[in-house]
Symmetry: C2
């Protein structure tokens, strides 16, 4: 495994691999790797000849009052985890390698997918994500790119970008990895105090409850689902709800009532704060006749 | 030479060429090919193993009151011109092939380069250009792409996009081709009445005069240059000036005075209407010590 810091060097090395007929799998991350990332890397390893992991905490996707500066970093541990997962190249650029001049060209994604959920409390976030992923795709030119479904809205934004701009890459969404009690794995979990950590289990519990209820009915109103989520999360005294929503997936449209037998997919999504730490989680319900995408 | 109408087919054919080690040169156009396009295709022919010409009148870059519907089209003649210039593939997609669904992801370019000159009278135009060129680059994945300098601002926008988004393509700007009397070749010249056509020569004359004057001085104010342009164009009774400007190149910054010996490049640019037909032209002055880009 090699650590590469410049775009030119990575292009050179990947060009050589491609010249040997290699397919390239790509896992873009912000580092501080956990089991979720490991499962992406392992899947990429089984499906491609060459695997590239990028570690780049992208300032463009953080708001002015967000945690860019205190976002957790641990290069040494990340390198060990990547090596163990069978990564060939870690791309670890500096901010000035990625943004040598003020950014004037961006990728922007409009529509429901970027006006709901995380877009509300994190204005500009998804344009920052789309722009950096577009840059990384142009640098790595992967055949396949792997993303975790904990960030389901991010996956939808990136799919929209890839489809609309005809990017020649297959987006592979991968299931959320969880702790034993159900908490979705996240680099930000490290911020939680022991008390907060214990109470954070309410996110996955609330989602499981909402899922079970929705699938047991022939129809369910979104307001019922929201009440159920809010009531369960309220059992955790340290939890403050940012949003608790249910929308169509992958369209992120608001609906009044969900009918499982119609086959429309539904995303039930949560963002909950514990102190300064904001956790997200979601579950996607397929209905009885999964919508063919 | 082959005419290809779908993205999938073009990707397949170019993949095969690339598999043989071919480099790919790309000339994106809106068709109604003239000598300007021919020179781009011929240059692409000498510098690449495979040459792709695209012909696509892109609705996204036309404003609601612009000439999308009446933009001139002549498929038969275009095919003959392309064949003669040695093109391998003409990519000629339908609007629904390029835009199968409402466009939600776009490339936007901000800064001086998209707020001056053509950006003022054509709001949204350059985002439409950047978005379609981004799509075409993702489809064709060229090594080199060729653009005419008559559209100098377009070239600057595309360079900004390629640089900021790390697109792996070399942009090759090519000199403006001209009629014998100096009129810049353009698909829109066909709209001109014989009287308008005769008077349209004032654009290139005014630019030549301004250039000669600027290079003969040790310093020249932009307002002097503008007066010179306006005065000369006013000798054509049918001409209505949209803009007559001089800005730094490629930054498109406003300055008060230009000093040739400082080596900053200057673009002197015109947009002039004859009836409903809007013509543009420009000249770029290098100064005595051309700025190294």
């Amino acid at each position: 495994m090699e650590i590469i810091e410049t775009i030119a060097e990575l292009r050179k090395r990947l060009g050589a691999r491609r010249g040997q007929g290699h397919t390239v799998g790509f896992v873009p991350t912000m580092g501080y790797l956990h089991e979720g990332h490991r499962s992406l890397m392992e899947r990429a390893r089984t499906e491609n000849d060459t695997v590239v992991l990028s570690i780049f905490v992208n300032p463009l996707q953080f708001g002015p009052n967000e945690d860019f500066d205190r976002y957790p970093r641990d290069k040494e541990r990340d390198v060990a985890v990547a090596e163990q997962a069978g990564v060939d190249f870690i791309f670890m650029p500096t901010v000035s390698e990625m943004y040598p001049q003020p950014v004037n060209a961006r990728v922007t994604v409009t529509g429901d997918v970027t006006t709901k959920l995380d877009a509300v409390s994190r204005p500009g976030h998804f344009d920052g994500v789309a722009t950096v992923v577009s840059k990384l795709f142009h640098i790595v030119q992967p055949d396949r790119a792997y993303f975790g479904m904990k960030d389901a809205q991010q996956v939808a934004v990136i799919r929209q970008m890839v489809d609309d701009l005809n990017m020649n890459v297959t987006i592979v969404p991968c299931e959320t990895e969880r702790e034993e009690d159900g908490l979705a794995k996240s680099s930000r979990n490290v911020y939680l105090s022991p008390e907060e950590r214990a109470q954070a289990v309410v996110l996955s519990q609330a989602l499981a409850k909402a899922k079970k209820y929705a699938l047991s009915q022939s129809s369910v109103t979104i307001s019922e689902l929201k009440s159920l989520l809010v009531n369960h999360i309220s059992t955790a005294p340290l939890a403050r709800i940012d949003y608790a929503e249910a929308l169509t997936y992958p369209g992120f449209r608001e609906i009044h009532t969900w009918y499982p037998e119609l086959g429309t997919e539904l995303i039930i999504a949560l963002a909950v704060k514990f102190g300064n730490t904001r956790l997200i989680d979601n579950v996607i319900l397929s209905g009885n006749q999964p919508f063919i995408r």
